[in-house]
Amino acid sequence: VSDVPTPNEPPSSEPPTTSTSTSVPPTSTTAPPGTRRITDAGIEVHLPSGWEGEIYRRAPDTLEFADAVPRSRRQQPTTRSVVHIANFPLPAVRGDYGSGAVEIMRDEDILVILFEFEPESAAQPMFGRAGLPVLQAADFDPNEMQRPLPGMAGCQRFFNVDRERSFCLFVVIGSYADRDTLVRRVNDVLGGITIEV
């Protein structure tokens, strides 16, 4: 994970707060005309025309443990897949949760991020939702941004895929006022994502 702070995560004991969203289990999709496809690590994204995307995995740092640290705790960090999808040019340098990209967003812009957690998390209550959610305009809140920016709003949801993979979905829209319009485009993009176990 980069130096970007993790979004505000609810306590692990807290159930998901997406009562207004419906869960959509991953299904195979056929690429509509004009779309492009990127795929890696069991994640497939069909990008609508004009949308950019990237699936990557950041090389983890190697930790050096002090002699006093028990062997059982000497576990090196691992990183898993991160997906960034945007309808604007994604800058080369970005944090895993979109810092560097969020700041240049305009009103009509959308940034969709999938951040994968370790498989063990899939059984945790925080990731209890099954499959990618469908978002509602009411799910977006200016205070769900990592750092509130004027006019913008964010939405963060956690979910699992077949209880074997766990993800955070973090979406930023450039205009909170236009959330009704923008959320439809968000759901169109989410519908083009397939995650395999």
Binding site: D40, G50, E52, R57, A59, F88, P89, E103, I104, L149
Partner: protein, 264 residues
Amino acid sequence: VTVLVVVEAVVVGLLAVLVAGLLRSHAEILRSLHDLGAGHESEEATPAYTTTPPAVRDGVVGPGTGATAHDLVGTLPGGGQRSVVVTGQELPTLLAFLSTGCSTCGAFWAAFSDPMALDLPGEGTRVVIVTRGPEAESPADVERLAPRAVTTVMSTEAYENYAIPGSPYFVLVDGATSSVVGEGSGTSWTQVQSLLRAAAADSGWAVKPGAGRVARAGGRAREARADAELRAAGIDPGHDSLYPATIADVEAAVLDADPAPREP
């Protein structure tokens, strides 16, 4: 003795024919290599090339004639995939087709380490480095050379879509019209910059003013603003208040900065 002389003469004759054939074959190989442009990548080997002005490649649809641009999908050197949209965009994109193997490309890999210093044609122009795919280039080598601040994708499909003749090669795409406005090669960034500017001017390409994206907050703009405010307050790099030794130092600095400290 006579037999030996005759045999020796025959052998010498055969060798002469063989040598002549080899020389002729060598000459044909050199001619073919020259026709293919071999040797143009090495500045040291062919110093005269550096004085050759860059030019748009012959046989390619020239700048300004609306050669169609293509979006890219490629592999990331560190693993994963990336798509880059260059068509239907407000901003122009400079596609830099580079290789890890060509000596001339080395200067460009280095030049792109600081894209802000490139003085790119257009406003808000984005640079994307493209290499051939993993089947033709070592991802580890590409990752080692790829500048952190520039998107780098490995895509043989992009080489084919843009009919790239070799590396280094540069294509300037106008996102608004989804067309190529300039393309060509050179041995230095200065040459390429000059080529692209000329090609863009010849094509009548006009950059939309104010097209560049400005950060609402954060990034370099935010850092610059914070620096300016700190300097205005008399806090320069190395100022004592930036290196408090104790919590009392922090509290003292806060009290100094607060024009109306609260009463205890």
